[in-house]
Structures are given as structure tokens and as C-alpha cells.
């Protein structure tokens, strides 16, 4: 294992300390239990927006704490959901009397821990609503599985719902906007290499030099199939066609096209992928009116990318364009 760390045990704590040192203007890091809150938390009465999950997906979620996005992020150990007491503490920390919305990625551990935290907070009289993001078309949605995984649509949901809460949306309005994003976003990813969890010390899975994992999850979970490496244009087809056929897009629909790097793929390759993805979307009659390209929800050092399409309407476009000021995403200010 070759990593820029001091010790596997301290990776999360030291990264959090680094964030606190770098972004003191935007956020504060609370330790024991660990959570990150906006520096100006509760400065005005607004719905508190909280998300969280295992670490190792940076900038998700801590990098999205700030104006127009999250009020708090709750980081667990690497690839491990945070615990209920952490989530409950973050929930309390952002309670400005207007209720709190949890955005949860659909993984068994995340869902259970957020559910327990919401129960604890509600028992103390707080109003809590939750939206579960499950946008990964690589997983068949079935009552016989844990359901689809939550992946890159989470970033878009945090941005758009954050804009809504910043503008004064009520808890129920914010929840419904977040639900709309969850319902209208679909993703699929591909891994070119594996990744190594620091405390495990060896790669999550072995991938031969000429093979790739199509439909990989953000924790290195296997996807639809393992295939031979192909040119980027063919991969764009393999990722985007299942997305387009899954959500019934109409010709003329406006969409946001999001090319996300999994951590180990350079931006130049993401643009190669974007070029073809935009072409495929256009051929399907979709109008790409907004886009996002970069490493926003990663899987440690994994090489690979995911493609996300979010169907837009006037409301979602307006909220997407609204000002945002966080460590990892900022515009309009």
C-alpha cells in the first residue's frame, strides 16, 4: 500500500483537521462525535440540511458544507456509515427551529444509522424528514435486494436542495424538491482499477490490467459485469444507454449531464468521456442545458468514472444556478 498518510487509524481525523485549518471561513469541524458544520450555522432561521456517509468519497460530503448547500456533514470511518449519535449531534447542531432534512445514500448501514438518529432526534421534539437517494442503474431494483445504491445524484440533490433551503423553503418543500431530484436522476459507473481502504491495506478487489468493472459501486462493489477494456466512446455508450432507457426521457427534455471521476482518473479523460456522452444524449433528443465535470463523489484512488443524467425543469435549473460557496463547489458569488 502506497498512500500519503501517517497511519491508517488517523486518516479521517487528520483529514478533518486539515479541512478545519483550510476552510475556517466556511466551516467548523466538531470532534467526538465527528461532524462538520457551516461556520455561520443557525445564523438565520432555515431548514437544516444534513448528509453523511463513510469517508473516502471526498469531496462528498464535507466538501459540500457551506452557503447554498449542506449545513452539516457527518463522516464515518472510511467506507463505513457514521453512527447514530454522530448524526443526531449534527442534526441538533443545525436545528434552527425549521426542521432538519437528512439526505441518505441507499446503503443498508447508512439507512439504518440515519433512521436510528432521526428517531432519537424526533423523540426530543425535533422535526426530521429523510430522503434516500438510489440512482445507480447498475443494480436491479428488486424487493429481493437492498435496492439500488445511492451514488452521484447525491451531489446534485445536495446542491439543489441546499439552494432551496437557503432560499427559505419549508421542511416539506425541501423534502419534495430532494425527492424530485432523486426520482429524476440516474447514474452508472465503471472502474478501471481497484482501490485500497487504508485500514485493510490491500485492494478491495483484483482487476487484471486489461479488464474493467462495469457498473461498479462507490465502495468498489462489483456491478453488472467484468469486461475487457474498451475505448472511452464505447464505455460512454455502455454507461449512458442503461441510464437513458431506465428513466423515460422524452425527446426535447432538458438534462444536466454529470461526468464524475472516481478519484484516480485525470480530468483530461473525463472530458474525453463528456464529449461522447454529450453526443449520445443529443442523438437521443436530450438537451444538455447544464453540466458538471470533475471528481465530486470518489472511491479513494480508484480510476474510473460515472455518468449521471438529471432531468431538469425550470425549478431545478433555477436552484442549480443559485449561488453556492463550499470547499468543493462554488459559483454565483
Amino acid at each position: 500500500m502506497k498512500k500519503l498518510i501517517n497511519s491508517p487509524e488517523n486518516v479521517v481525523a487528520e483529514a478533518l483537521a486539515g479541512m478545519a485549518a483550510a476552510h475556517a471561513d466556511l466551516l467548523r469541524v466538531h470532534t467526538d462525535p465527528n461532524y462538520i458544520v457551516r461556520a455561520d450555522v443557525k445564523a438565520k432561521p432555515k431548514v437544516g440540511l444534513v448528509s453523511g456517509g463513510g469517508s473516502g468519497h471526498e469531496p462528498l460530503h464535507g466538501g459540500f458544507v457551506g452557503l447554498g448547500m449542506l449545513d452539516a456533514a457527518v463522516p464515518g470511518a472510511v467506507f463505513t456509515s457514521p453512527t447514530p449519535d454522530q448524526i443526531e449531534a449534527a442534526t441538533r447542531a443545525v436545528d434552527a427551529g425549521q426542521g432538519i432534512l437528512h439526505i441518505v445514500k441507499n446503503y443498508t448501514g447508512d439507512v439504518m444509522n440515519f433512521e436510528l438518529a432521526a428517531e432519537l432526534a424526533k423523540a426530543d421534539g425535533l422535526q426530521v424528514e429523510s430522503v434516500v437517494i438510489d440512482d445507480d442503474v447498475a443494480v436491479k431494483d428488486s424487493t429481493w435486494t437492498a435496492g439500488r445504491r445511492g451514488v452521484a445524484t447525491t451531489v446534485l440533490a445536495e446542491k439543489i436542495t441546499g439552494a432551496a433551503t437557503e432560499a427559505g423553503a419549508s421542511l416539506i418543500e425541501a423534502r419534495d424538491i430532494c425527492r424530485k431530484v432523486a426520482a429524476q436522476g440516474r447514474s452508472m459507473g465503471v472502474a478501471l482499477t481497484s482501490c485500497t481502504v487504508p485500514h485493510a491495506g490491500k485492494p478491495m478487489f483484483e482487476l487484471p490490467e486489461d479488464e474493467i468493472e462495469l457498473g461498479v459501486g462507490i465502495h468498489g462493489e462489483p456491478g453488472r459485469e467484468r469486461i475487457k477494456l474498451r475505448p472511452a466512446d464505447e464505455l460512454a455508450e455502455l454507461l449512458l444507454q442503461p441510464i437513458i432507457s431506465d428513466l423515460p426521457y422524452q425527446r426535447g427534455d432538458e438534462v444536466l449531464l454529470f461526468i464524475n471521476g472516481l478519484g484516480g482518473t485525470p480530468l483530461i479523460e473525463l472530458y474525453v468521456l463528456y464529449r461522447k456522452a454529450a453526443e449520445i444524449a443529443a442523438a437521443a433528443g436530450l438537451k444538455v442545458t447544464r453540466h458538471l465535470i470533475g471528481n465530486y463523489i470518489t472511491s479513494l484512488e480508484m480510476a474510473g468514472a460515472s455518468i449521471t443524467l438529471l432531468k431538469l425543469d425550470d425549478q431545478l435549473t433555477r436552484l442549480w444556478d443559485a449561488p453556492v460557496k463550499t470547499p468543493a463547489l462554488r459559483w454565483g458569488l
Binding site: A77, F79, P82, T83, E221
Partner: protein, 212 residues
């Protein structure tokens, strides 16, 4: 003389032994989890039980219910992942039925564990055959509760471990339908479920503790 009941002292020794064994088996459980999940089960269970071990000196010496409750609350707040809430719930629901007890007959222990299992099923929504910890807990607890009155605990636990072992081995050919392993579909077959494996370890450790 074989132990006829679970004493508070043995219950405490069991939890201490679990902490030691899970630390030792960290790599083994993590390896099982890397094959079908996200590779954190061993580390998470070890972290949770180490935190429990650190708090054991605070628990009353004659109250198994209080011991289980401490185990539960500590696992929920330190383990993370799905194992924290699930194992924590198991001990929490079990603790309710035995509050204040310094000693448990096999039937009482079985009833407490059964309450724990009901809690696990309610939270995780898994059934037997889904390739989870429920595949081990269900037959093991059934063996324990079926014990005839007057049967020594060590004999009841020997049967429970036998049933747990069969349950764990039975998860190997199964296709996972819950948790992260379910994303693998057919590819999850051929692997031992990590949650089933750690549940088996807990029962084996209990049998060993009572037997010694």
C-alpha cells in the same frame, strides 16, 4: 461439573472473550467482507467490541441485563456500518427481557436471544435464506430455546453451536438478498457471509466460556 446456567461472571467473561477473538479475527472477517461487501466488517466489529471492553469496568457485577444494555449502546455508537445497529439491537432487545438478572437458565437465555433476533429482523428485514446473520442466529437460538428443563447450559450451547455452524456453512451457496452483498446477485454465491461468520464466532465463544 458442567455449568447449568449462565452466571453474570460468565456473561462478562464471554463479552471479554468476544472482544479478544474479534480483534484476532479482524483480518479473516474483513477478507470475507471484501469478497462480497465493502471490506469493513472485521475492523468494525473489532472497533465496536474494543470500545465495549473499555467500558466493562463500569457495569454492575450481578446484572446481565445491564451488561447486555451496555454492550448494545456501545456497539450502536461506535461500530458504524450495518453491523453496529444490527448487533446493538440484538443485545438491546435481549437486555430488556433479563433486566436485573444475575443468572440465566438455558431457556431464559434462549428467550432473551429470541427477543434480540426479533429486533434484528425488524430492523434489517432479512429472512432465513437471505444470506445474513439471521441464517446463523435463527437455528442457533431455536436449539437453545428447545432445551429440555434441567438440561445443563453447556449441553444446550453445544447444540446451538452445531446449529450455528450448519447455518453459517449454509450461507455459502446462497445468493445474497440483503445488504451490500445483494448487489452481486448470482456472484455472491460461493462465499461465506461475513455477518453469519461473526455471529457464529459469538456463539462459539459463549460455548467455550461456559464450558471452561
Amino acid at each position: 461439573m458442567p455449568a447449568s446456567t449462565l452466571t453474570a461472571a460468565n456473561a462478562l467473561r464471554w463479552i471479554e472473550a468476544c472482544a479478544a477473538l474479534l480483534d484476532e479475527k479482524k483480518a479473516y472477517l474483513t477478507e470475507l467482507d471484501s469478497a462480497v461487501g465493502d471490506g469493513d466488517h472485521g475492523v468494525n466489529m473489532a472497533r465496536g467490541f474494543q470500545a465495549v471492553k473499555a467500558k466493562l469496568p463500569t457495569v454492575p457485577a450481578d446484572d446481565i441485563g445491564a451488561l447486555f444494555k451496555l454492550v448494545a449502546m456501545t456497539l450502536i455508537s461506535t461500530t458504524g456500518g450495518a453491523s453496529g445497529p444490527l448487533c446493538g439491537t440484538f443485545f438491546l432487545k435481549a437486555s430488556v427481557t433479563i433486566a436485573g438478572k444475575a443468572e440465566l437458565t438455558p431457556a431464559e437465555l434462549g428467550a432473551a436471544f429470541q427477543a434480540g433476533l426479533v429486533g434484528v429482523v425488524a430492523l434489517g428485514k432479512a429472512a432465513v435464506g437471505d444470506k445474513t446473520m439471521v441464517d446463523v442466529l435463527t437455528p442457533a437460538i431455536a436449539a437453545l430455546t428447545a432445551s429440555a428443563s434441567g438440561e445443563p447450559l453447556s449441553a444446550a450451547l453445544a447444540r446451538a453451536v452445531e446449529a450455528a455452524r450448519k447455518g453459517a456453512e449454509g450461507t455459502v451457496p446462497l445468493v445474497a438478498r440483503k445488504g451490500r452483498a445483494s448487489y452481486l446477485g448470482e456472484r455472491s454465491a460461493g462465499h461465506l457471509d461475513p455477518g453469519a461468520a461473526s455471529s457464529l464466532l459469538l456463539f462459539e465463544t459463549l460455548a467455550k466460556t461456559v464450558g471452561n
